[in-house]
């Protein structure tokens, strides 16, 4: 089985273009002993959706957090359009066009929807004072026209009082508002209804057409298969498969994932 995957890695066509983000030999230890990633090479090309898959604890969220600047790799390098860049904080990653929906740390419960959406990137007037009116209007527009959330009446509702799906929708709304070059989505639909999940999957395909790059982490292989152009399988912190959609089909993919 491992043989198959190795050929698959080689079979993945080397694209002529430089990837937007390229990570080389990424290793991550937590607290010096827990190895979450080992020697992972990961790239994000322009205008593609990568399905990042793997078992619980495989290291998917760790990889996402390294790209988003929240965690620093123990070893390895990150290149943005071929230029080595240190993602020393999430701010640096954002400045490089990366917008993230995390699996578990997106929202601040004791703040309202509007303040959550703009948190850290507030619209201000002079001297850092909040332009509440402007933020209000933008949030209103966003929730009315772009990412409508079932049961939301106003951007002033406290996030802590929302349902799991509504919270996830607020995270999505924020990512859509600030989307730039790359969207990292760590199980963004785990709490959404079937209908909203489909709408979301359609939406990210449109974003790819607009030129965005998207990394989608999901345990639902059908969702990944539906939208992704490439699949990247992690197992116990190591890359075991990096294959284009054209090189595989859903049965083979399922088999490989289950085997690991």
């Amino acid at each position: 089985m491992s043989d198959t995957s190795r050929t698959d890695i080689k079979a993945a066509p080397q694209r002529e273009q430089t990837p937007y983000i390229e990570m080389r030999n990424i290793t991550k230890y937590y607290g010096g002993t827990i190895r979450a990633l080992h020697d992972v090479n990961f790239r994000i090309n322009r205008r593609e959706i990568v399905g990042l898959v793997g078992d619980n604890g495989a290291g998917k969220s760790t990889l996402i957090k390294i790209i988003s600047g929240v965690l620093q790799p123990t070893e390895g390098q990150i290149f943005v359009e071929g230029k080595e860049t240190k993602f020393s904080s999430s701010k640096v990653a954002m400045q490089n066009g990366i917008e993230t929906i995390y699996q578990d740390m997106n929202l601040i419960d004791c703040m309202d929807i509007m303040r959550n959406i703009f948190c850290g990137r507030e619209t201000t007037t002079s001297m850092g004072f909040l332009d509440l009116k402007e933020m209000q209007e933008r949030a209103m527009h966003l929730l009315k026209n772009e990412v409508t959330i079932e049961g939301i009446r106003s951007p002033e509702q406290l996030v802590g009082n929302l349902s799991g799906g509504q919270k996830q929708a607020v995270s999505i709304a924020r990512a859509m508002f600030f989307k730039n070059q790359v969207l990292l989505l760590d199980e963004p639909t785990s709490a959404l209804s079937v209908r909203e999940t489909q709408a979301f999957l359609n939406h990210i395909q449109r974003l790819r057409e607009e030129g965005l790059s998207i990394v989608l982490v999901t345990h639902n292989i059908f969702h990944a298969y539906q939208v992704a152009d490439r699949f990247f399988l992690l197992s116990q912190g190591e890359c075991v498969l990096d294959v284009d959609k054209s090189e595989t089909d859903i049965d083979e993919l399922t088999k490989i994932i289950v085997a690991h």
Partner: protein, 330 residues
């Protein structure tokens, strides 16, 4: 009939609006206590002198010492940290100011030095907390004793007189009718804190840091810097409070300010500030500090023995926290 109804629903709407405020609960309790105290004072002007000028002066003079510190404690607690060393900062800043002034340093320099000492202590506390990741409760417990030790060492455990003259009195402690200047300082600081917390992006970052530190960091907020900043603001306010209080009593005692740290936390908690961070309001902390002194004052006016004070304050704290928790869950 229709008119009473309209008035009724108007009152109801007002009640709902007040109740909807972040500090609505404490505001209602505070107003209720004031109404009772003022009513009793009007009914029994001879026995219960709540509204007498001398009593109002006592209130307006006592509240700011705690209140100014509570403003800083409130910011720090909302960002998820504590500072138990503010009482020691309060004393050291006062002592440094008095010593410098008595040694011939210009008054303004002595005052600025006192403020600088507070900012420095806050900065050291904050630096150790964010670098070590040890809970600030423990770090500042150590800091509280350390700086109190320094105060005792420098003062040789004796009082230091401070008689800066009429200019300083005018700025900090003069009376305008029953109100004293130090109360105006308190109000001004509270207003500034409100704008900072509710209308400035750093205030937003303070709530985010205390509400969910991982999310705040992931959103690009420098949570360490936010916490450091709050420790330093609190240090400056503790110094200012010490300066005002010392100007009022013309004296620095080496044990002055002991217990202020817990009273300030109590004032914030009564006002609805969460112990775990993320929630709180300036008006709540303001009223919390005022409420503690109002209760103390009422007990004094009723000539209740001193131990009633602690007993009542203890009850108020527990009731306030439990009530806030219940109302929040609703």
């Amino acid at each position: 009939m229709g008119e009473t109804n309209a008035r009724h629903s108007g009152a109801r709407a007002l009640f709902n609006r007040v109740h909807g405020l972040k500090s609505g609960n404490i505001l209602i309790v505070f107003v209720a206590i004031q109404v009772i105290a003022i009513g009793a004072s009007l009914a029994f002007p001879q026995d219960f002198r709540y509204l007498s000028t001398s009593n109002l002066q006592v209130l307006f003079r006592s509240i700011p010492t705690l209140g100014i510190i509570a403003m800083g404690v409130n910011l720090l607690m909302i960002s998820g940290e504590f500072d138990l060393s503010v009482g020691s900062t309060f004393a050291l800043a006062s002592l440094v100011m008095a010593k410098l002034f008595n040694a011939g340093t210009p008054l303004i320099v002595a005052i600025l030095a006192a403020i600088a000492i507070g900012i420095m202590i806050g900065g050291v506390n904050g630096y150790i907390v964010v670098k070590s990741n040890v809970p600030s409760f423990i770090i500042t417990l150590g800091s509280m004793w350390f700086w109190r030790g320094i105060v005792l060492l420098v003062s040789q455990a004796s009082n230091e007189a401070f008689n800066p003259g009429p200019g300083m009195d005018a700025v900090f402690t003069a009376s305008i009718g029953p109100v004293q200047v130090q109360f105006l300082w308190f109000v001004a600081i509270a207003i500034i804190c409100w704008f900072f917390l509710e209308r400035h992006k750093l205030g937003n970052h303070i709530f985010a840091t205390g509400g969910n530190v991982n999310a705040a960091r992931a959103l690009g907020i420098n949570v360490k810097r936010i916490k450091m900043m709050n420790f330093m603001i609190l240090g400056a306010l503790a110094s200012l409070s010490g300066i005002i209080s010392t100007t009022r009593v013309n004296n620095v005692s080496p044990i002055q300010g002991e217990g202020l740290e817990l009273q300030a936390i109590a004032a914030c908690v009564i006002g609805g500030t969460a112990l775990m961070g993320g929630r709180g309001s300036v008006l709540g902390a303001f009223l919390g500090a005022a409420l503690l002194f109002t209760v103390q004052d009422v007990l004094l006016l009723l000539r209740a023995p001193g131990y009633y004070l602690r007993l009542f304050v203890g009850l108020i704290i527990i009731l306030a926290v439990v009530l806030n928790e219940i109302l929040r869950k609703k």
